[in-house]
């Protein structure tokens, strides 16, 4: 179990999460509505209301190194049901952005899948499923991912063999390039 040291609140961390999510996190009074509706609590290490509390307490490491922020499905239940109108799902998203930027990936496969997806979009302009699965398998080493489904999907022509390339795909490549120039790494 991680010990939370309440004496060391990282004020910069609190301010950054607030600024990037445009949410006033101080209004969270820990009613637990977000957690009650969150379908992913069974795989979380900190429930979503605990994540909110840890942010309020300025616990940068505990938040950015938790698994929950990678496992949030962005289902918007928390945002929809928060009595204080906090966009909780956006806060989870922002924490994941910050974790990524600082090199954490406590759910490696989740990160690798997102990376493979975006590489596919950067390359073709659209997501190319077969290609991105191959890319994911290559990077994750999980050779048998969904191998059981492949025959079914292929028989129903659900996996085209060729990407649908966009005419203006260099425009999309440039979106990524400019984004990286701003210091981001995707």
């Amino acid at each position: 179990m991680r010990i939370v040291d309440l004496a060391t609140a990282d004020q910069d961390f609190i301010a950054e999460v607030e600024a990037r999510s445009h949410q006033n996190l101080r209004t969270c009074y820990q009613c637990g509505n977000c957690t009650a509706g969150c379908p992913y609590t069974f795989v979380y290490d900190h429930s979503v209301s605990q994540v909110m509390r840890l942010i309020q307490l300025g616990q940068r490491d505990a938040v950015l190194q938790c698994k929950s922020i990678w496992l949030c499905g962005s289902c918007q239940s928390c945002t929809t049901r928060c009595p204080n109108r906090i966009d909780v799902a956006k806060v989870m998203d922002v924490c994941r952005h910050m974790a990524r930027e600082q090199g954490y990936a406590t759910e490696r496969e989740v990160k690798l899948f997102a990376d493979a997806f975006l590489r596919s979009v950067e390359r073709h302009g659209r997501a190319f499923e077969l290609g991105l699965m191959a890319d994911y398998v290559l990077h994750s080493g999980r050779v048998f991912t969904d191998a059981d489904l492949a025959p079914k999907a292929l028989a129903r022509r659900k996996l085209p063999f060729r990407p649908h390339t966009v005419v203006g795909r260099d425009q999309i490549e440039r979106i990524f390039q400019r984004f990286r120039k701003g210091g981001a790494h995707v």
Partner: protein, 294 residues
């Protein structure tokens, strides 16, 4: 005749080709003209917004700009995930500073405004349930279904601005118009496990398994969806769910446009029923010999 820009989304070209096809056929059958967004690109789906909101908005903004160039006010998409990204981008770009950062990533700044809506919304609001009902020639009498909207079609309500966020009814009403019996489905906005199928199949097995279990409990012949990801999790992955949970679900999962197409007597070849993984024949057999209405 109503006319809207149409953004099919990537899955419509592969895993959910039958959704795109049946959507086009149904819209044509009810007199809704879809004009394809020229050279549209991927909206970034969930991976983009989990990486960065500016990147995500930029990928959507290129498409909003292309849609705007058609001179239409509404861009409709069948996919709730595309819808969320397009809507988020459109709303967030009302903020000037945000719009400038997004535009800085684009070759051509995103001009003008266009309102992203789901095809479901356009069907209900621009065509109307009564008009759809009027055009039904082969009612689905005898078929009992549960309508599953997925988590993000209507949530959060301030952003999606359509239907009810806890108990949406648009699809229910369309299915009733098509002559089906609709069971009240308490989990209609619960999450199916979203895009975790590949990296964390255990999550999808648990969450989608819960949905299938609830549907079975209602004694329905089929589940009806409006989301390519939900459909894939519930249908293509139903065998994985059965293996993981030691279950024996055999519940076909249709797109609402496939069933609507049947009722509107759209040619079967447009509906792609053969692309469903769980065999739909038993369910379709429940439909009483369809007597032409008129």
């Amino acid at each position: 005749m109503s006319k809207v820009a149409y953004y099919p989304g990537c899955s419509g070209q592969g895993t959910s080709l039958e959704y795109d096809r049946s959507t086009r056929a149904v819209c044509a059958a009810v007199g809704l003209e879809l004009v394809d967004v020229p050279d549209w690109s991927c909206c970034g789906s969930s991976p983009a917004h989990t990486v960065n909101h500016v990147l995500s908005a930029a990928l959507s903004a290129r498409n909003l700009d292309l849609a705007h160039s058609l001179g239409l006010d509404v861009v409709a998409t069948p996919c709730p995930s595309c819808l969320t990204n397009l809507r988020n981008a459109a709303l967030e770009m009302e903020d000037e500073a945000f719009r400038d950062t997004v535009n800085a990533l684009l070759d051509r700044p995103c001009a003008g405004r266009v309102d992203p809506q789901s095809v479901l919304q356009v069907l209900v609001e621009q065509v109307g349930v009564d008009e759809v009902a009027r055009r039904v020639t082969r009612p689905l009498t005898g078929l009992r279904v549960a309508c599953y909207y997925g988590c993000i079609m209507n949530r959060p309500p301030e952003r999606m601005r359509f239907d009810d966020h806890e108990n949406p009814m648009a699809m229910d009403r369309l299915m009733e118009a098509a002559g089906a019996e609709v069971a009240p489905f308490p989990l209609k906005v619960e999450c199916c496990g979203a895009s975790f199928g590949v990296p964390r199949g255990d999550i999808v097995a648990r969450l989608s398994g819960k949905l299938l279990d609830a549907a079975r409990g209602l004694g329905v012949d089929a589940v009806v969806t409006a989301c390519p990801l939900c459909q894939m999790n519930l249908d293509l992955r139903q065998s994985q769910i059965n293996a993981a949970l030691r279950e024996h679900f055999r519940i076909p999962v249709f797109y609402y446009t496939q069933l609507l197409g049947l009722a509107l007597d759209v040619p079967r070849s447009e509906l792609g029923l053969d692309r469903l993984c769980v065999d739909p024949r038993l369910a379709l057999g429940k439909i009483k010999a369809p007597a032409p209405v008129r």
